[in-house]
Symmetry: C2
Subunit: 137 residues, 2 copies
């Protein structure tokens, strides 16, 4: 496992948009835009169990997380690794923490998403361990 360089930790700690790369069952990679945060050298991404990216990861845990500095396209970090663990988020502690970082609001269900949406899927937290890290020169 590799560590995240100090110089680029800020890009992964939010509130920058990140691209999460997963691999579809037919072997073609795909990117979606997500929120993320850092816990030590682990990247945390919150999603739901009805999403394509979640299904891809259940089949193939290999992923990448890319963040480009929106102010400077030549400043970026790409973390290549694996989803090492998937945990639940039954009390929405993680999605609410991400909501605070990205929007300043206190709660995702209620402030951002209709509360009834919380009943239609299960929130999960992806824990991504870096295998290789590449940053802009």
């Amino acid at each position: 496992m590799e560590s995240i360089p100090e110089s680029h930790r800020e890009l992964l700690a939010g509130p920058y948009f990140a691209a999460l790369t997963t691999i579809a069952p037919d072997g073609i990679p795909e990117n979606t835009i997500v929120w993320c945060s850092l816990e030590g050298d682990t990247i945390l991404i919150n999603t739901t169990d009805d999403r394509r990216k979640y299904k891809n990861i259940k089949e193939n845990p290999n992923v990448a997380v890319l963040v480009l500095d929106p102010e400077d396209g030549y400043n970026w970090i790409d973390v290549r690794g694996r989803v090492e663990k998937i945990t639940g988020d039954p009390d929405f502690a993680n999605i609410d923490r991400h909501t605070k970082i990205y929007t300043g609001k206190d709660s995702f269900y209620g402030d951002i998403m209709p509360a009834e949406a919380a009943g239609t899927h299960k929130r999960v937290v992806l824990h991504i361990k870096p295998e290789r890290v590449v940053v802009s020169p």
Copy 2:
């Protein structure tokens, strides 16, 4: 093969930075920042034959190309597909066209890169055909 929607063609025609996703031999995806342009529904990316992304593609042609609007993180396109063809760029016509789009300058070797660099590697053009296209809602 899928086509690129009119609404998002502009993001792929340059001068926006694109993330090219390739898959390393160990199966982990990786992203690098590149210039790109569109020819019909084919995405063109110029690289060199000594780069890691080129080696990845020779082993595994499955790729994705993501562009985020730097002014609006909620506006993006992700093209998932395959490198269908790799052609040479012996007279630098393609890299010079990309240089014009992205920098306004006329020539890559000379204006951007030392001319002697042209002797150390071979320029190649990746022709990427969309298999699936996803755009921001």
